[in-house]
């Protein structure tokens, strides 16, 4: 928990902060589970849950995708559970995380993690409907500054060739996530 890893997405950095806040130990992507092999026995698909909580013995996978785009991740999770029945994995959907941010009064962050504009690369924003979060008319304290967020999974969930914009490499996504995390820490 002391050395911050390079988070792939700002929502992961936020979850790490929440776990730190409540004193829950975590490890970031500590293990990769092979879930599909070709006929030569080579691993062709694997799944690396985002967090492992060693004291609670549970993995946490955080997806901030639109609910309609999580089919691929759900399939991978089902496969993981079939192959590793003793492994406990909690899939935290975008709407769950967003609701959590609302609960904590982080309205701006909830909006940025809405699964629509917050999940898109900037050049794709104009193609999507806008979803904005309205802060209640009555004053609410401690609304956090909005975190910059980077795309991680909206491209991942699309069929190959469906997007004009290729998915950034993992290294690029990690660097963006790191910048987002540092930005949030400094704000």
């Amino acid at each position: 928990m002391t050395d911050q890893p390079r988070f792939a997405h700002a929502s992961e950095a936020e979850l790490a902060r929440i776990l730190n806040y409540y004193g829950v130990r975590w490890e970031y992507e500590p293990r990769t589970f092979p879930i599909l092999w070709n006929t030569d026995g080579k691993v062709v698909e694997s799944f690396s849950p985002d967090f492992y909580l060693p004291e609670l013995e549970v993995y946490v996978e955080l997806t901030t995708l639109k609910q309609s785009l999580v089919r691929r991740k759900n399939r991978k999770l089902r496969r993981l559970r079939e192959l590793y029945p003793d492994i406990r994995v909690k899939l935290f959907y975008g709407k769950d995380f967003r609701a959590l941010m609302l609960k904590y009064g982080r309205f701006d962050l909830a909006a940025s993690l809405s699964g629509l504009e917050g999940q898109l690369m900037p050049e794709r924003l104009d193609r999507q409907p806008s979803l904005r979060l309205a802060v209640p008319a009555r004053p609410v304290e401690s609304a956090a500054p909005r975190l910059p967020v980077v795309d991680r999974e909206s491209a991942e969930a699309e069929p190959v060739g469906a997007s004009d914009h290729p998915r950034p490499s993992r290294g690029t996504r990690r660097r963006r996530g790191r910048r987002a995390f540092i930005g949030a820490e400094e704000s």
């Binding site: 776990l19 829950v24 935290f92 769950d96 009064g105 309205f107 979060l133 309205a134 009555r138 956090a144």
Partner: protein, 181 residues
């Protein structure tokens, strides 16, 4: 305020019936002794007030408040803090934590660790609502009122932006109040 609620999830009558039932069960389970009810501010106040009157045995009460993530304390310390500690010792006592709602389980997990360190004879949990969809920490709830779906609920102590706590029922907040398309 009522107009801000899309649906009433649990009526006032249903709450009262459930609180009476829980009070009866708690009274039966602790029949040979007294119990200390520890309410976690602020959301559980109405539940605590009704529950303690539904328990027909000697009870003592105490109040705690812990900082919540995203609150003002987040920026200063980065760690959860006890904003209001117990007023008296619970060492050797039977303690029942009274919670309004359990969702992630993070706050309660922290409280359990904290209170266990104060050596109570027993430590149990009574929660009015359980929202398992968002659970991160598995918690064994000894006395549970209702399991609810993953909706944004307010009323009977539950708030949105500190409002709606005084609604006598538990309702689903209208979506357009916290988001617009």
């Amino acid at each position: 305020m009522r107009a801000d609620v899309a649906d009433i999830l649990i009526t006032e009558e249903q709450i009262h019936a459930k609180v009476a039932e829980l009070g009866g069960r708690i009274g039966a389970d602790y029949s040979s002794s007294s119990v200390t009810l520890v309410s976690v501010l602020k959301g559980s106040l109405p539940f605590m007030a009704d529950l303690m009157r539904a328990i027909k045995m000697p009870v003592t009460i105490d109040l705690m408040e812990v900082s919540s993530y995203g609150g003002a304390s987040t920026e200063t310390s980065g760690l959860v803090r006890i904003l209001k500690d117990l007023s008296s010792s619970i060492a050797g006592k039977d303690v029942l934590i009274v919670e309004d709602i359990i969702d992630t389980g993070l706050t309660l997990n922290y409280l359990l660790r904290y209170l266990r360190g104060k050596s109570p004879r027993s430590l149990r949990i009574c929660a009015l609502l359980d929202k398992p969809a968002r659970r991160l920490v598995e918690i064994n709830i000894d006395y549970l009122g209702f399991t609810i779906p993953d909706e944004f609920v307010v009323g009977y102590g539950l708030d949105f932006g500190e409002f709606y706590r005084n609604l006598p029922f538990i309702g689903v907040l209208r979506r357009e109040l916290y988001e617009t398309t």
